[in-house]
C-alpha cells in the first residue's frame, strides 16, 4: 500500500519536472524564432577586431543587464524531487570529503617529512655558523700574534720567488718567440724575390727585439711609451702585434707604436 503510494508520488514528481522542462523548452523555441529573424553578420576580412569588440561589448552589456534583472528562482517545491536532489548533493559532498581526507593525510605526511628535513638543515646550518665563527676567531687570534719580522721574511721570499718566476716567464717567451717567429731569411727571399729585394739592404731586427724595445720603453718612459718604426722592423710582425692587440698605433703618428697597457 505504502509502496504504491510512493510510486504514485514519484510519478507525480516526474510529471511535474517534465512539465517544467516543457515550459523551458517552449521558451527556448521562442528565443530561437526571434534569433532566426536576426541577420547573419559576416566579419569584415580586414581588421575584424574592432567590429568584433563592439559586438562583444553589446552582448556583454546585455548579459550583464540580464544578470542584474534576474531574481532568485525557486526550484520545484515537490518534496520527492527535493529529497532526491538533496541526496544527490550529499553523495557528491561525501565523495568530495573522501578526497579531502586523503589529500589532508598526504599533506600531513609531506609536512612531516619537510619538517624533519628542514630541522636537519637548520641543525647543519647552525653547525656551519659555529664552525665559521670559530675559524674567524682563530684567524683573528693569528693576526694578533703576527710578527713584523716574519712577515717581512715571508714577503721577501715571496718576492724572490716571483722574481724567479718572472725570469722563467721571460726566458720562455724569448725561446718561444725565437723559435716560432724567426726573421724572414732563406726561404722567404727565395720565394718572394721581388719583395725581399726591396728590403734587402736593411738589417731587420727580430720579433724578440721588437718586443723587448716595446717593453723597455713602456717601463722606462711611461709618459711616452711609443717606439718609432723604421725599416728594420719587419712589417708583417708589426701587423701581427697590432692585429692581436699586443701593440697599439699612435693616434696621430702611424709610424709610432706602443705596447698595450696590459697591467692596469
Amino acid at each position: 500500500m505504502s509502496l504504491s503510494q510512493q510510486d504514485l508520488n514519484l510519478e507525480d514528481a516526474k510529471e511535474q519536472l517534465l512539465e517544467e522542462c516543457e515550459g523551458i523548452w517552449k521558451q527556448v523555441e521562442e528565443c530561437q524564432n526571434k534569433l532566426t529573424f536576426q541577420e547573419i553578420e559576416t566579419v569584415p576580412a580586414t581588421d575584424p577586431k574592432l567590429s568584433l569588440l563592439l559586438h562583444r561589448m553589446k552582448a556583454l552589456t546585455a548579459e550583464f543587464n540580464q544578470w542584474q534583472k534576474r531574481t532568485p528562482e525557486i526550484i520545484t517545491t515537490n518534496p520527492d524531487v527535493l529529497v532526491a536532489l538533496g541526496k544527490d548533493q550529499l553523495q557528491r559532498l561525501d565523495h568530495d570529503l573522501e578526497m579531502i581526507l586523503s589529500t589532508v593525510h598526504a599533506k600531513n605526511k609531506k609536512l612531516n617529512e619537510d619538517l624533519l628535513r628542514e630541522q636537519q638543515w637548520l641543525e647543519e646550518q647552525q653547525q656551519l655558523i659555529d664552525c665559521l665563527d670559530q675559524t674567524e676567531k682563530e684567524i683573528s687570534n693569528q693576526v694578533v700574534q703576527f710578527s713584523e719580522k716574519r712577515a717581512f721574511q715571508e714577503l721577501k721570499s715571496k718576492m724572490l720567488k716571483i722574481k724567479a718566476y718572472k725570469e722563467e716567464l721571460l726566458n720562455a717567451l724569448g725561446e718561444f718567440v725565437e723559435k716560432h717567429f724567426p726573421l724572414p731569411e732563406d726561404d722567404g727571399i727565395q720565394k718572394k724575390k721581388t719583395r725581399s729585394s726591396r728590403e734587402e739592404d736593411v738589417q731587420l731586427i727580430t720579433l724578440h727585439e721588437i718586443l723587448e724595445s716595446l717593453i723597455n720603453t713602456l717601463i722606462n718612459k711611461p709618459h711616452d711609451p711609443y717606439v718609432t718604426i723604421n725599416n728594420s722592423f719587419w712589417s708583417p710582425y708589426i701587423e701581427l702585434l697590432l692585429r692581436y692587440g699586443i701593440a697599439l698605433r699612435h693616434l696621430e703618428d702611424p709610424s709610432r707604436i706602443r705596447l698595450e697597457n696590459f697591467y692596469d
Binding site: 517545491t77 716571483i162 720565394k191 701581427l240 696590459f262
Partner: protein
C-alpha cells in the same frame, strides 16, 4: 702584408705538427694499453661467465680505426674506402657509446690538424661525444691547432660550438681560463665572433676583466652595433667591475646567445640513458672507468661530480705552476672526496666548486657551501648552466625531448629541492617559466612546474601578470578540478614564500635602513595584494565552473587562512577580505568542515583588524597600513551576514552586501519552507543539522523523529557545548569572539 704573416705560419706549423705527432703516438701507446687492459678484464669476466663471446669487437675496431687515422697519409683522398670504413666505425661507436677522454683528445687533434679533407674534420668533430669528461689538455692542444691556422674557418667555428656544448664536461677550468687571451683575440673574426663571445661568457672571471679588454669590446660595439652576444659579455664585465664599464646596458636581455644548435645532444643523452638504463650485467666496462661506486646517482650525468677533476689538476698543474700557487692561494680540497658533513665543516674554507656546476644541485653538502659563499660567479655559472639546460631539454619546447620527459621531471624536482634548501628561486628558472608557460600544455611535468612556480620571487605584479598569471589562468579555466586545486596549492605556497622572505628581511634590517625598507615595503604590499586579488578572482570563477565543489573550496580556504593572518603572523600591514563569491559559498556550504574553516578565518580576520586598529591608534606603526575603511566595511558586512545566518536568524533582512543573500519575504514564502528565517542557524544550517540530529538522539534516545524546536534555552547552550566537543574549533573561536557577548542577551529571543 697580411699575406706575409700567413706565408710565415705554414713553416712554423710544420715543426709544431711534427712534435704533436710524437705526442700523439706516445699518447696512443698509453691509450692502447688502457683499452687492452680493459679488454682483458672483460675477457676474464666473460670466461667466468663461461660465455664464448669474443672481446668486444667494437672496441677492437675503434682501435683499428684510430691507429689507421694516425698512420694514414695526409690528404688521403676522400673516396678512399679504407678511410671511409674507419670513419664509419668511429661514427658508430661515438654515437652509441661515446668516447673516452684519450680517444676524444686524439680525434680532436686529427680533426683540427687539417690532416684530412675538411669534410672528414667536420665529420670527426660532429662525433666527438664524451662518455665522462674532456681534459683541459685537449682544449689546450686544440687551441694550439687553431693558432697555426691549419683548419678552415668553418672547422674552427664548429670547434667553438663544440666547446660551448661540451663546456660542462671540461675539467680543470682554470687551465682553460689561462687561454683567455687567445679566445679574446678570436673576437676580431666576424664569423667566429658570436661563438667567441659565448666561450668568453662561459670562462670569464673577475681577473680577466681588464681595461684594455673593455676598450676592445667597446671598440667592437662601436663598430658592429649592439650585438646581443657582445652585450651579454659586456654586461658580465660590468657585473664584475662596474667601474670599468661605464656605458648603460639593457639589464634584462632574455636570451643572450642564439640557441646554437647542438648536434651532440642526442648522442650524449642516448649514451647517458644506456649507461643507466641497461642492466648492470650487460654494461660495458665504460662505467667502471667512469665512476665505479656511484652508479646509482650516475644516471643523470649532468648532476654527477666528474670523477677526477681536481685531483688530476693538482698533480698535473701544480708542478708547472707552483709559483703561481704561492701567489694565489693554497691547496684546495677536492670536492669529489667530500662525503660527510664533518668533512664539509673541516674544509669549507678551501673548497673549490666542481667543474660541472650542475652537480651542486644534487649534493646537499655543496648546497650548504653555495649557501655560504658570496661569490657571484657561482650563481652566474649556475644561472647560465641551468638556463641552458632548461631551454634545451624542455619537452614542450622541443618535441624531440618528449621521450625524456621523466628525466626532465627529475631535473625539475632537483631544482625545486635546491630552491627549498636555499630558500630562494633561481632566476634562470624564473625566466624559463616566464618563457615557456604560454606554450605549456598543462600536462607535461605538471606537478614539477607548479612546484617551481612557488619559488618565483616577488617582483612587480604587472610583469608577473603577463608572463605567468595570464597563461596560468587560461590553463586553469579549461583544466580539470584537480589542476585547479594544484594551482591554488601552488599559489598558496608562493604567497607563503613571499611572506617568509619578507619576515626574514625585517628580521635582518636594523633601524637605520628602516626608511629604505619602508619604500620597498609599499611595493611588496601592493604585489602581495595583487596576488591575493588574483587568487580571489580565480576562486570565484572556479567555484562557479566546478559547481561549488567542496574539494575546491578546501584549497581556496587554505589560501585565505594565510591571507587572514598576514598582519599578525607575517608582520605585513595588509588585510584583504575574500570575495563574496567565496565567502557566501563557504557560508552556505553543506560541508561542516568548510563552514568551520570559514569561521576560523573570520576569527583571524577579526584579530588582525582589531590589532591593526589598536596599533594605528597608538601610532605604533610607522608603516603605511594598507587597509581601507572599505575593508572594514566589508568585514562588518560579512560578520553581519554570518551572525544573521548562524545565530540571530535575520540574514535575509539584515544582509546589506550587494552580492549578499538579502531576500524579499515573498520570494522566501514561495519556497514553502516553514520558519525559513531560521534555516541557516546553527541548528538548521545544512552543514550542522546533522549534528543537531545526533545531539537530539543522544539527549532523547526514545524520540524517533527528532524535534529540532527543542533546541532552545538551556538546551541551546548544551547544543553549543556539543558542537564544540565535535572538534568544530573554528566555530567555537568564532562564536566566542564575535558572538558571545551578544549571546547572553539574544539567546532567549533567537531560540524562540
Amino acid at each position: 702584408m697580411k699575406k706575409g704573416v700567413i706565408a710565415k705560419t705554414p713553416k712554423q706549423a710544420l715543426t709544431r705538427s711534427c712534435s704533436k705527432q710524437t705526442d700523439l703516438s706516445a699518447w696512443k701507446a698509453s691509450a692502447l694499453q688502457m683499452t687492452g687492459r680493459r679488454n682483458e678484464q672483460k675477457l676474464s669476466k666473460d670466461k667466468q661467465q663461461t660465455t664464448s663471446e669474443n672481446a668486444d669487437p667494437k672496441q677492437d675496431s675503434l682501435e683499428e680505426a684510430l691507429s689507421y687515422l694516425k698512420k694514414a697519409k695526409e690528404r688521403t683522398p676522400l673516396k678512399n674506402e679504407v678511410l671511409q670504413k674507419h670513419l664509419v666505425t668511429v661514427e658508430k661507436i661515438a654515437q652509441e657509446k661515446g668516447l673516452a677522454p684519450e680517444e676524444l683528445d686524439f680525434l680532436l687533434n686529427i680533426a683540427l690538424s687539417g690532416k684530412f679533407a675538411e669534410v672528414v674534420s667536420t665529420r670527426l668533430l660532429k662525433n666527438l661525444v664524451p662518455t665522462s669528461a674532456i681534459t683541459a689538455d685537449s682544449v689546450t692542444s686544440a687551441v694550439s691547432w687553431l693558432c697555426v691556422g691549419k683548419c678552415s674557418r668553418t672547422t674552427q667555428m664548429l670547434f667553438l660550438k663544440w666547446l660551448i656544448a661540451m663546456f660542462d664536461f671540461i675539467e680543470q677550468k682554470e687551465q682553460v681560463n689561462a687561454l683567455y687571451g687567445f679566445f679574446f683575440s678570436l673576437l676580431q673574426d666576424e664569423k667566429l665572433f658570436p661563438f667567441a663571445c659565448h666561450v668568453l661568457y662561459l670562462i670569464t672571471r673577475k681577473k680577466n676583466v681588464k681595461p684594455f679588454r673593455v676598450r676592445k669590446l667597446l671598440d667592437l660595439q662601436a663598430k658592429m652595433g649592439a650585438e646581443p652576444p657582445l652585450q651579454a659579455l659586456l654586461l658580465l664585465y660590468k657585473n664584475f667591475s662596474p667601474e670599468m664599464v661605464s656605458i648603460t646596458l639593457p639589464t634584462k636581455t632574455k636570451i643572450q646567445f642564439k640557441n646554437s644548435e647542438n648536434p651532440w645532444k642526442m648522442a650524449i643523452s642516448n649514451i647517458k640513458r644506456r649507461l643507466c638504463g641497461a642492466p648492470p650485467a650487460s654494461q660495458p666496462s665504460l662505467i667502471n672507468t667512469a665512476c665505479p661506486q656511484t652508479r646509482k646517482r650516475k644516471w643523470n650525468n649532468k648532476l654527477v661530480l666528474p670523477a677526477c677533476s681536481v685531483q688530476s689538476s693538482c698533480s698535473a698543474v701544480s708542478q708547472r705552476t707552483h709559483h703561481i700557487d704561492l701567489i694565489v692561494h693554497s691547496d684546495a680540497f677536492p670536492v669529489e672526496q667530500l662525503q660527510t658533513f664533518p668533512q664539509l665543516l673541516e674544509n669549507i674554507h678551501c673548497l673549490e666548486l666542481p667543474s660541472r656546476i650542475g652537480s651542486v644541485l644534487a649534493n646537499p653538502l655543496l648546497l650548504h657551501y653555495v649557501n655560504c659563499v658570496s661569490d657571484d660567479s657561482v650563481y652566474r655559472r649556475m644561472y647560465y648552466w641551468m638556463g641552458q639546460t632548461l631551454r634545451e631539454e624542455c619537452p614542450w619546447h622541443k618535441f624531440e625531448n618528449q621521450p625524456f620527459e621523466l628525466e626532465f621531471k627529475d631535473f625539475l624536482r632537483k631544482i625545486f629541492e635546491a630552491e627549498c634548501f636555499l630558500q630562494e628561486g633561481f632566476s634562470s628558472c624564473e625566466e624559463f617559466l616566464y618563457r615557456s608557460l604560454p606554450f605549456w600544455d598543462g600536462y607535461s611535468c605538471r606537478s614539477q612546474v607548479l612546484q617551481l612556480v612557488t619559488w618565483i620571487p616577488l617582483s612587480t605584479f604587472s610583469e608577473m601578470k603577463s608572463y605567468l598569471f595570464k597563461p596560468l589562468a587560461q590553463l586553469f579555466f579549461t583544466s580539470s578540478l584537480y589542476f585547479k586545486c594544484s594551482v591554488f596549492e601552488s599559489l598558496r605556497e608562493m604567497l607563503l614564500n613571499w611572506l617568509n622572505w619578507h619576515l626574514m628581511q625585517t628580521d635582518t634590517t636594523t633601524k637605520l635602513n628602516a626608511d629604505l625598507l619602508n619604500t620597498t615595503l609599499s611595493g611588496l604590499v601592493s604585489s602581495v595584494a595583487d596576488l591575493i586579488h588574483f587568487v580571489g578572482w580565480l576562486s570565484t570563477v572556479a567555484l562557479s565552473l566546478e559547481n561549488n565543489s567542496a574539494f575546491l573550496m578546501h584549497f581556496i580556504l587554505d589560501f585565505y587562512e594565510i591571507v587572514s593572518d598576514v598582519y599578525l603572523k607575517y608582520n605585513l600591514p595588509l588585510v584583504v577580505m575574500p570575495p563574496a563569491g567565496v565567502f557566501y559559498t563557504a557560508l552556505l556550504s553543506m560541508d561542516s568542515v568548510c563552514l568551520d574553516h570559514l569561521c576560523y578565518i573570520m576569527h583571524r580576520y577579526r584579530a588582525n583588524l582589531i590589532s591593526a586598529k589598536q596599533n594605528l591608534q597608538a601610532k605604533k606603526t610607522v608603516l603605511q597600513f594598507k587597509f581601507s575603511s572599505q575593508t572594514c566595511q566589508e568585514y562588518n558586512q560579512y560578520i553581519t551576514a554570518m551572525v544573521g545566518c548562524l545565530w540571530t536568524s535575520n540574514v535575509f533582512q539584515k544582509d546589506f552586501h550587494h552580492q549578499g543573500i538579502h531576500m524579499d519575504p515573498e520570494v522566501l514564502e514561495k519556497t514553502r519552507v516553514k520558519g525559513y528565517r531560521k534555516s541557516f542557524n546553527i541548528v538548521y544550517h545544512p552543514a550542522l543539522t546533522g549534528y543537531a540530529m545526533l545531539f537530539l538522539q543522544e539527549a532523547q534516545p526514545e524520540d524517533k523523529t527528532p524535534n529540532f524546536q527543542l533546541i532552545q534555552g538551556r538546551r541551546w547552550e548544551w547544543y553549543l557545548e556539543y558542537l564544540y566537543s565535535q572538534e568544530l574549533r573554528g566555530l567555537k573561536l568564532f562564536i566566542e569572539s564575535s558572538i558571545h557577548r551578544a549571546s547572553q542577551r539574544s539567546q532567549t529571543q533567537t531560540s524562540k
